[in-house]
């Protein structure tokens, strides 16, 4: 599979497996099915409450740990130096692994929830840099950071985030932020790359899918990766898990890419870094 080079010299596959809401036995089975069918990048988070299931799924797949890239995330209510270190240990234990490939700050601290949000992000980041130096984390990154959060972080960071995982799908793809990150050599990972399946009826997407004899889900994923962005679709349905990897045998034309780029806003989650825990419309 095509890979993307991170600014720390490590590489990630361009398609990974999302696990939000894939819990308990469903989660175990989905992760094992995904890995057996060729996914090596697995995305979870402490807040998903499924790190144990993900760990069991990995064991069940029988694939060597070294072949996999496990991502997990530090929850937004735990942004301090001390908590970062404690939370990482808890994730390692729940996943039953001795290192994490990619550890992300799930959401930035913001003015609404932290007296000094810049300091909270910087303190967590410092802890992550130390954990990386100790070898407990291979790559460190952020999620849902706007340019302002990154700029603030970069003032004190010794290590530039390797990844910013953001909401990115047809109908909402944060073009300016993507361009800013790519200029800083920060790789974008797309969460909800299928727009949580609510964009599937769109006529532009269905007509492009028909033309290529592919599903709308596959067109969404192809569009994401043609932007040189990593996609991490989630599914607990074996047929779809496989389908979501079958996107390397066709290519969207420039016109098709542009028409998907230009789709009106749809499928937006309403989650924003500066407003959490509230949602916006």
């Amino acid at each position: 599979m095509k890979e993307i080079l991170l600014n720390d010299g490590r590489k990630l596959p361009i398609v990974g497996f999302g696990t939000y809401k894939a819990k308990e036995q469903d989660g175990v089975d989905a992760v094992a099915t995904a890995i057996k069918n060729g996914y090596t990048l697995i995305d979870t988070a402490s807040i998903y409450g499924n790190e144990e299931a993900v760990g069991k799924g990995i064991k069940k797949s029988g694939i060597d740990r070294e072949e996999l890239f496990i991502t997990t995330k530090l929850w937004r209510e735990c942004l301090s130096y001390e908590e970062t270190k404690i939370e990482l240990e808890k994730s390692l234990e729940r996943l039953a692994v001795d290192y994490i490939d990619l550890y992300l700050i799930h959401w930035p601290a913001n003015a609404k929830n932290y007296d000094n949000w810049q300091q909270a992000n910087a303190d967590s980041w410092r802890a992550m840099e130390e954990l990386q130096a100790e070898g407990k984390i291979k790559s460190i990154g952020v999620s849902n950071f706007f340019q302002e959060h990154l700029e603030a972080l970069l003032k004190t960071a010794k290590v530039t985030p390797s990844v910013n995982q953001i909401e990115f799908h047809p109908g909402y793809w944060q073009q300016e932020l993507t361009e800013y990150c790519q200029k800083q050599n920060i790789v974008i990972e797309a969460w909800s790359p299928l727009g949580k399946a609510v964009v599937f009826d769109n006529e532009v997407l269905t007509s492009i899918a028909t033309k290529h004899n592919k599903s709308v889900a596959q067109v969404c994923l192809r569009w994401v990766i043609q932007h040189n962005v990593i996609a991490i679709p989630k599914s607990t349905t074996p047929k779809r898990i496989i389908e979501n990897l079958e996107i390397f045998d066709f290519e969207l034309t420039e016109d098709e890419m542009s028409s998907i780029d230009a789709l009106p806003k749809m499928g937006f989650s309403g989650e924003m870094p500066n407003s959490w825990p509230d949602r916006v419309k």
């Binding site: 599979m1 095509k2 890979e3 993307i4 080079l5 600014n7 590489k11 361009i14 790519q182 200029k183 050599n185 920060i186 790789v187 040189n228």
Partner: protein, 136 residues
């Protein structure tokens, strides 16, 4: 078998380090030392790739790629970065006699396109270098 593998690995790393060193030299040019650096790069390129900067800028695209096709992608990527550093550094392009900036820049783009075609790894850095060269 193991010894042969080790030898290949060592040679591979030796060339990587050599090219990295060369790239670094182009970044810290002392005033009026531009020509010395270009001479050093030329000697190194002739030794390793059997091509001078002048030959790179004047060769045709097909010949250029054919000559380089036996090299590993990692080394080609470093060569592209080296060419980029030379092209965008006014200390070198002012010299003018060893290469023509526009044709060297076109060749660097040809090389980057070739790397894109053989590589399974996407690199933002590669994309940026290509965009900057195209904009020159």
């Amino acid at each position: 078998m193991g010894i042969e593998k080790d030898f290949i690995k060592r040679e591979f790393e030796k060339l990587s380090l050599f090219l990295t060193g060369l790239i670094d030299t182009t970044k810290v040019t002392e005033p009026n030392e531009g020509q010395k650096t270009i001479d050093k790069v030329n000697d190194a390129l002739k030794e390793v790739f059997k091509l001078s900067l002048h030959e790179i800028s004047t060769s045709n695209d097909h010949e250029f790629i054919t000559k380089l096709s036996t090299y590993d992608e990692v080394h080609l990527e470093k060569l592209a970065t080296l060419l980029y550093e030379i092209i965008q550094n006014p200390d070198f392009t002012m010299l003018g006699q060893d290469f023509e900036k526009n044709s060297l820049s076109k060749k660097a783009i040809v090389l980057l396109n070739y790397i894109d075609s053989i590589s399974t790894t996407f690199s933002i850095n590669r994309m940026q270098i290509k965009n900057e060269l195209k904009a020159l």
